[in-house]
Amino acid sequence: DAGVTQSPTHLIKTRGQQVTLRCSPKSGHDTVSWYQQALGQGPQFIFQYYEEEERQRGNFPDRFSGHQYPNYSSELNVNALLLGDSALYLCASSFRGTLYQPQHFGDGTRLSIL
């Protein structure tokens, strides 16, 4: 039973570029959440997707956008990259149909902006 998988594992970009990160949820999960974890900090919630729609959003600018596909996989897109976007980007999945289900995390994508 595969857990949450993310790709790529590492990525280097320059300021102003655009990036797409990908996530496949754990089998049986239908909800995907994205988090940004800067060095020495806890993860910060970016947004959550369910039924192919963005359901909730944290305090992140419009440069951060996403998508969910019918097979529940998801993408995180970041435009006009800034140095401050350097971080570990974590994807978490869960099943919305049952209360009190913990989110399960992938290994993340380490994004470095030069």
Binding site: V4, S33, Y35, G40, Q41, G42, P43, Q44, F45, I46, F47, Q48, R55, Q56, R57, G58, L88, L90, A92, Y100, P102, Q103, H104, F105, G106, D107, G108
Partner: protein
């Protein structure tokens, strides 16, 4: 705005010691509090505490939720070097705001042999 504060931020102990990690929170419409262990990459789920489940135990790890004090503790007894990690506390709110988790900064635990 939901808020989670963890203490201490770092802790160094010797193998065999018992440690207690603290988490306090402010959240509108509390649903649950979760503990995760993060070694190199993915945070790994440890416990979920709710109004109907305020104590959890698994092996040497245990956790208690104090809804009156808006806090939780994570205890690890007979620590081993493999317990070295960052321990993250997070809270989840019911609807209204983000369904996402609000995390603290974590406690960096180092177990010395």
């Amino acid at each position: 705005e939901d808020k989670v504060v963890q203490s201490p931020l770092s802790l160094v102990v010797h193998e065999g010691d018992t440690v207690t990690l603290n988490c306090s929170y402010e959240v509108t419409n509390f649903r649950s509090l979760l503990w995760y262990k993060q070694e190199k990459k993915a945070p790994t789920f440890l416990f979920m505490l709710t109004s109907s489940g305020i104590e959890k135990k698994s092996g040497r790890l245990s956790s208690i939720l104090d809804k009156k004090e808006l806090s939780s503790i994570l205890n690890i007894t007979a620590t081993q070097t493999g317990d070295s990690a960052i321990y993250l506390c997070a809270v989840e709110a019911i609807g209204g705001g983000a369904d996402g988790l609000t995390f603290g900064k974590g406690t960096h635990l180092i177990i010395q042999p």
